[in-house]
Subunit: 155 residues, 2 copies
Amino acid sequence: MAIDHLDGALLELLAREPRIGVLEASRRLGVARGTVQARLDRLQSNGVIRGFGPDVDPAALGYPVTAFATLEIKQGQGSDVRAHLASVPEVLELHTTTGHGDMLCRLVARSNADLQRVIDRVVGFDGIVRASTAIVMENPVPLRIIPLVKQAAGG
Amino acid sequence: MAIDHLDGALLELLAREPRIGVLEASRRLGVARGTVQARLDRLQSNGVIRGFGPDVDPAALGYPVTAFATLEIKQGQGSDVRAHLASVPEVLELHTTTGHGDMLCRLVARSNADLQRVIDRVVGFDGIVRASTAIVMENPVPLRIIPLVKQAAGG
DNA sequence: GCATTTACTGGGCATTCTGTATAGCGACTG
DNA sequence: CAGTCGCTATACAGAATGCCCAGTAAATGC
C-alpha cells in the first residue's frame, strides 16, 4: 500500500514514457531489472496500477464538448438511473455524491447543439427530477496523478 | 480523425488487455502485423491515443476520498487561481465552466477529515470567493471510453 | 480507360526484450 | 544466530519488435 521513493520514480517514469520496457526502466532508474519487475508486479497486485489502458482523447474522436451534469434523483430510483446512464455512451463517468445534487456525471458531445441531444437523452428518464449542466470551457489541469504520487512517495 | 471499425476493435482490445503486443493484437484481430502497427501509429499521431500511461488508483495510494468542488472566482483572478490549484497535489483535475460556478475541480483526500484540510488549502486563496463541495460516495460508472469508441466506430 | 496512390497482406531478418531461474549479499527479525 | 526479505547480477530460450521488401486490391486523379 505504501509507496516508497523507487515506486514513485517508476510511476513517474512510466507516466512520462509509457512505451518504455522493464529493461529500459531499470537502466533509467539505476536498479536491476528484477527489481523493476518485482516492483511493477507488486504495484499491480496492490491495485495501485490498475492497468495501462490507452488514453483516448474524446475530442480527437469527434466529441470536443465536455460538460458536467448534476442530477437530482427521485427517491428509490437510484439503481434504475444508474443503469440508464451507463447505457449512454456519452456518459463517461458517473458518481453519486452528497450535497445539492444526488449524482454528478461527465458528458461529452459532438457540439454544443449535440450536447442538447445528449442531455435530453440523459434526463429523459423517469427517475431524474432535475438536472443542471456546466459546460467545460477550458481544462487548465488535465487529469493527473504524478503530483499525488510524488507526495505519496514522500517527495 | 474518423475511426473505422478496425480502429474501434483495436482500441477496445487494448483497453481490455493493455499489456498485449502488436503481434498478439494482429492475431486477435485477424489482420497483418503491419496493419496494426500502421493503425496504432496513425491513432497516436492523430491524437486519438494520447498515451499508455499507467492508470493509478488514488485510493490504493492512500487517498480513498474523492470530491468535486465548484468554485466561484473573483473577476480577473482566473490565472492566479489556476496556478494556485495546479500547485495542490490533491487537485487531480480542473475545469473552467459555464453555469453557477466558474471552476470545477476534482479532489482527493486521505479521509473525510483530511478533505477539510485539502479544501481549506484549495479555497484559502484570495481569488476564490466561494466554494461548494460534493463528496463522492459511489462511482457506478468509472471513467470509461469504450462505449464512445464503439459509437464513433459505428457499431 | 489508364496510371498513380494508398492500404493491407505475407514473408524475412537482425536486434532486443521478456519470462523465468539461478546464486550471492546485506539488512532486518524472531 | 538462523531465517526471511529485497536487491543485484547473470544466464538462457522463446518471443516480440523494428525494419525491409514484393505483391495485390481498391480508390483517386488525369
